[in-house]
């Protein structure tokens, strides 16, 4: 019940806003902020009461919704969704503060923001396929409105593109959901769309698994977005208002990666294993491609948007390493990306508010007049390129470590993204912050004010906190990940594969000769005292 309350609190807040008079902007903003803060604090309460030791769903609730079809209102949180849930409430709060200066239809804007929050929270707690689908589509609408109404000059094109991309992707997912629903009914006799039940009882042959997997994949890959489905993202980011970009990068993209962890992996473990090479290469292309294209962008927001493509490539790579290092790395990288990229978008918003342009060539030398801004920007930028000691490194390293266990070549290709990240971030930083202050329009620019500091400083603190002591965050999903890995671990399928000869991946075969590998394995298994006798 409590979870329901936390999830729908923003929605009721939005309903309340509807009745407030349009003119009292102050009250509207304060009410929205109060709701967002309360929701964040309540979600923290969820976190403190969360039991780290189990992978089971917590705070769950299961009541019939459409009884005749076996559709339930089933919600719950586990380690995989908890942090995403908390991050959603957290970023909503930050975004309400960041939107303080919006002049146009502030009441409607805040309503959209709060409704969006409930929509996103719903996605992370839904444990019934239909309910998930409803939330998945539902949160599109407020986001569509936020981009379409409060966006930049090409907002209509961007918002429709965003909407259509996601909607087209999810249509196939709906087909797959229906197929699964009828299949479960046929095989087990239970008409249900319960995710946990399906996870335990879905049994389909590999060929069918692959088709279903592809249907889910398309929906989530567009959302992540993976190369080559990413082109909606730069447009949406560029046109969205600052807070829209923060939510988009911080939460909406994470729904894609969450979907892979909640559906593709546990539903179709064998198909997931089969598709590892494809995902790995798409992710690697995404990492390198996103970084390269980011390097030559002229618009700050587009640069950050393409860097998201690169970062999300790391997350996907980690998920499909199918081992604890990779998946834990991917989960923490999910959070990290929300924090660092969120901070970058907020910071880009700061100069946009002052100059109404985001072109890199318009700036230069800001370090001289905006020292506080420069420090915050530097920290966010360095965290985004994964400097050790900051949050990005923890996730990136675990992801790479995970994928290295699978294939050394993939790890090497993905790691090259680390070099390119340094290129695009530092080059951009140099052109915006350093050099001489030449453009006369920039001379009078003010440093960040108190409100802007309030939005960015918590993110900066989190950057160092996760970078130096990520344990409080990582222990929340330890049990869930281990459980997930035990279900999808490639070892479950390897014996079946023996007939087909050796697989193209799964061993670091490219790097060591088989003889050495054999001797090594032998060595590692040999007890120590045997060695000493020789």
């Amino acid at each position: 019940m409590f979870l329901t309350f936390v999830t729908f609190l923003p929605f009721f807040g939005a309903l309340f806003l509807v009745f407030l008079p349009k003119e009292s902007t102050g009250t509207i903003k304060q009410t929205a902020l109060a709701v967002a803060v309360a929701d964040f604090l309540l979600s923290l309460y969820l976190w403190t009461n969360f039991d780290n030791t189990t992978h089971a769903m917590q705070f769950s609730m299961n009541i019939p919704w459409i009884e005749s079809w076996g559709i339930n209102y089933h919600i719950g949180l586990d380690g995989i969704s908890l942090l995403l849930y908390v991050m959603t409430t957290f970023l909503t709060m930050i975004c309400v503060i960041a939107s303080w200066e919006i002049k146009k239809h502030i009441r409607e804007y805040m309503i959209a923001m709060l409704v969006l929050s409930t929509g996103m929270l719903g996605v992370f707690i839904a444990l019934d396929l239909f309910m998930f689908y409803v939330f998945w589509e539902f949160q599109l609408i407020p986001m569509y409105i936020i981009v379409g109404v409060w966006g930049g000059p090409r907002r209509i094109y961007a918002s429709i593109k965003f909407f259509l991309f996601t909607a087209v992707g999810s249509l196939l997912m709906l087909v797959a959901i229906l197929w699964i629903y009828f299949h479960i009914q046929e095989t087990t006799g239970v008409a249900t769309a319960d995710i946990l039940y399906i996870t335990d009882n879905l049994d389909v042959p590999l060929g069918t698994q692959k088709w279903l997997w592809m249907a889910f994949f398309l929906a989530f890959a567009i959302k992540v977005p993976m190369f080559p489905f990413h082109t909606w993202l730069p447009d949406a980011h560029v046109e969205a208002p600052t807070a829209g970009s923060v939510i988009l990068a911080g939460v909406l993209l994470k729904m894609g990666t969450y979907g892979f962890l909640r559906f593709n992996l546990p539903f179709f473990p064998q198909a997931s294993y089969e598709f590892v090479p494809m995902i790995a290469w798409l992710s690697i292309i995404g990492i390198v491609y996103g970084a390269l294209v980011a390097m030559v962008q002229e618009d700050l927001k587009k640069l950050v948007a393409y860097s998201s493509v690169s970062h999300l490539g790391f997350v996907m790579l980690g998920i499909f390493a199918l081992n604890p290092y990779g998946i834990q790395g991917a989960l923490i990288q999910n959070i990290n990306h929300g924090i660092s990229t969120g901070a970058l978008f907020l910071l880009v918003g700061v100069v946009y508010d002052r100059r109404h342009t985001r072109l890199i060539s318009e700036f230069g030398g800001l370090a001289k007049i905006m020292p506080r801004y420069t420090v915050c920007f530097m920290i966010a930028a360095l965290s985004s390129i994964g400097l050790p000691g900051m949050n990005g490194f923890v996730g990136e390293f675990l992801v790479l470590l995970g994928i290295f266990q699978v294939n050394g070549l993939w790890a090497a290709c993905a790691t090259s993204g680390v070099i390119l990240a340094a290129c695009y971030i530092l080059w951009m930083f140099q052109r915006v912050m350093f050099l001489e202050l030449k453009n006369p329009k920039n001379i009078g620019m003010k440093d960040m004010n108190m409100r802007e500091m309030i939005t960015v400083v918590p993110l900066v603190i989190l950057i160092f906190w996760i970078g130096l002591y990520p344990k409080p965050f990582m222990q929340t999903f330890d049990a869930s990940v281990n459980h997930l890995v035990s279900k999808v671990s490639p070892d479950n399928f390897r014996p079946k594969k023996d007939n087909h000869g050796d697989s193209s991946h799964g061993e670091h075969a490219q790097l060591i000769t088989s003889n050495q590998m054999a001797s090594l394995n032998h060595k590692l298994q040999m007890p120590k005292n045997v060695l000493n006798k020789d």
């Binding site: 030559v296 000691g389 290295f404 790890a411 912050m433 330890d478």
Partner: protein, 655 residues
């Protein structure tokens, strides 16, 4: 008990950095200077206490580990935020905190006129803290925090004058080139975890001889990757190009970061992983070869430069080449020995050049110096002492360390490595005295409006101390006398490597895998250390140094017209003076194609390819809908016609 203080050593500079960074403008320059230098000195004193504590360890225990907290982990991977103290760490700790403190004091004088005084010291202290993490970390990843941390601080400090484009470019270049090395380092760490299941130094080094086959592919790949990491940080071929550009930073930065500490991190890392390197003869050969080649090549460039700091920068590249040469032939002690003495005399040289630049108001071109001897007596004397040291004149410190490197490169290596070392030594003596003669001797070519003056005490005192250290530093490793080599005895526990047992293990492993081990017996033959050869070589290297100095004397004092004659119109000289066009080559072959390709990817692939397909699909659907519209004409007879056609075709299909 005293060893428990270990974790405070990197903490003091960090705290200093935070205070100066946040409140530096409010508390004023004096307070900033006191906090910055104070934190460094405090950390030096703590290092002394830790040293005492280390000496009091019971017999046979050579390392102390202190885990502060558990950093992160997943599955069976976990990494601690932990420090380790062993002889090697202690040596590096003293270099960093000792030389670091001296340079901090100097910087107070050098930077005094700067508005962003506080910003400089915030970065400077942060650097010291990161460098201490680098040398004190007990595992590869903690070392990597320091490793990237120093790179990051170096980026800030090179770009300290951020309004200058050249400074910004140099900073970015340094960071990116370093990242290339870091990329390899990261891969090596992952591979090490893959093989060993841990990344703790002590555990990896302990298990290495038992798990890796001597000369095997795995250990060769790991060490090669580590070495690529080292070439990035330590400015070796092919990743050395950032270091000369890094001279855009203030001179104390060049002294501390780009001479004494950060750039030697690669050498430290190789020595730290000496067990792994010793297991791979192929990597060792590559290390020695790259080191030797870099030493010679950088020295040739150093002979042709006119910017006083650039000459020193190339000299640094060259001297680090020596250290790698030593590592490559397995003379790890010699590498660390040279690292320590180099820290003394090169820091002194850089600070001296800073004093010169300070004294003639920012001029760095040696063609506009000359005759500064009488204006800056203290700077001149200390500079001369350090130059003699780097040139290898006995009994100064550089002579002993360089001689040891040369000796080992002949005995443990071969005549080619030795030849590289000797030619680099000759060139070093030449270009260093060229620098001294052009700067301090001869006619004054200083701009008449500038009145050269000696630097204040706060700057000359550090020079004197460092010159003193450069003089007596050789005492750490007195050759010839057995048992007098203090450094060697001290480092013995770290660099001890039992080749015989490692080979035995390898043989066993190969046997298990059904392979025959090659004959390794020749590796185990003891090398005879002939006292006569050693003494002869010493005399020879001294003679080489004197020849180099004499050459410089001929060219720049006796016959100042000679250089002009020799170099004018020579394509060879132009090639060297333009640094073999390596920067241009990298620019044309890597940087530009990458940028162009990225633009192509963006404009063609992204905008036209993928988006074109998307928008095309949308247009096609629109086109279909428009044409489908015509079918819905609203005329009933058309619909009837369709029905009839459909009915007939259905019949045809059925029968």
């Amino acid at each position: 008990m005293l060893l428990k203080l270990t974790c405070l050593i990197p903490l003091y500079p960090l705290i200093g950095s935070i205070i100066n960074g946040f409140f530096g403008l409010k508390i004023g320059k004096d307070a900033v200077a006191k906090i910055a230098c104070g934190s460094m000195i405090l950390s030096f004193l703590t290092a002394v206490l830790v040293f005492v504590g280390f000496l009091m360890l019971p017999e046979g225990q050579h390392a102390y580990e202190q885990v502060v907290w558990s950093w992160f982990g997943a599955g069976d991977f976990s990494v601690d935020f932990g420090f380790q103290v062993d002889p090697l760490t202690l040596v590096m700790m003293f270099v960093v905190t000792g030389v670091g403190s001296i340079i901090h004091v100097y910087a107070v004088g050098y930077m005094h006129e700067e508005y962003s005084f506080y910003r400089f010291f915030a970065y400077f202290n942060l650097f010291a803290s990161a460098m201490l993490l680098l040398v004190m970390g007990n595992n590869f990843l903690l070392m990597f925090i320091g490793w990237e941390g120093v790179g990051c601080c170096s980026y800030f400090l090179i770009g300290y004058y951020f309004e200058k484009k050249s400074a910004c470019d140099a900073g970015t270049k340094a960071f990116v080139v370093n990242r290339v090395g870091d990329f390899a380092f990261l891969l090596a760490v992952m591979y090490i975890f893959n093989i060993f299941g841990t990344i703790d130094f002590s555990e990896v080094m302990h298990a290495a001889p038992e798990k890796l086959i001597y000369g095997g592919e795995i250990v060769t790949i790991i060490t090669m990757l580590l070495f690529v990491g080292a070439t990035g940080k330590s400015a070796q071929i092919p990743l050395y190009t950032w270091l000369p550009d890094a001279m855009e930073g203030p001179t104390p930065v060049s002294a501390l970061i780009h001479a004494a500490t950060m750039v030697t991190a690669g050498v430290y890392m190789v020595v730290r992983c000496n067990v792994l390197f010793s297991l791979s003869p192929m990597t060792m050969t590559v290390v020695a070869f790259i080191g030797g080649t870099t030493a010679v090549m950088a020295a040739t460039i150093g002979m042709t430069q006119f910017d006083i700091k650039r000459v020193l920068a190339y000299s640094t590249v060259s001297q680090i080449g020596y250290m790698f040469l030593a590592c490559g032939v397995g003379a790890y002690t010699a590498a660390i020995f040279h690292l320590v003495t180099h820290a003394f005399f090169k820091a002194c040289l850089f600070l001296g050049s800073g004093s010169v630049i300070h004294g003639i108001h920012g001029e760095q071109d040696m063609r506009k110096m000359g005759g500064l001897k009488k204006h800056m007596p203290t700077t001149y004397k200390t500079f001369l002492v350090s130059t003699l040291a780097i040139a290898g004149i006995p009994p100064l410190s550089g002579f002993f360390s360089k001689d040891e490197v040369l000796y080992h490169s002949l005995i443990d290596g071969n005549i080619i490595f030795w030849g590289m070392g000797v030619s680099a030594a000759l060139l070093t003596a030449f270009y260093m005295f060229r620098l001294v003669f052009m700067t301090f001797h001869g006619e004054s070519r200083v701009d008449p409006s500038v009145h050269p003056h000696e630097s204040p005490k706060i700057m000359t005192m550090p020079l004197v101390i460092l010159a003193g250290l450069a003089t007596v530093g050789g005492m750490l490793g007195i050759p010839l006398m057995h048992g007098w080599h203090i450094l060697h005895n001290w480092l013995e526990p770290v660099i001890h490597f039992d080749l015989a047992s490692a080979l035995q293990h390898s043989e066993h492993m190969l046997h298990e895998a059904g392979q025959h081990a090659p004959s390794w017996t020749h590796l185990l033959e003891p090398k005879d250390h002939n006292l006569w050869i050693e003494s002869l070589l010493m005399l020879f290297s001294a003679a080489v140094a004197i020849t180099g100095i004499f050459g410089a004397y001929m060219f720049y004092i006796k016959r100042p017209d000679l250089p002009e004659k020799f170099t004018k119109g020579q394509w060879g000289f132009d090639l060297v003076q333009n640094k073999y066009y390596v920067d241009e080559l990298y620019d044309e072959s890597i940087v530009k194609p990458t940028v162009e390709a990225s633009k192509l990817l963006w404009k063609e692939c992204d905008a036209k390819g993928i988006d074109g397909a998307v928008n095309g699909a949308a247009k096609t659907i629109g086109w279909f809908s428009r044409h489908a519209q015509t079918l819905q004409s609203g005329f009933v007879r058309n619909y009837a016609l369709f029905m009839v056609v459909g009915f007939i075709s259905l019949l045809l299909v059925m029968f």
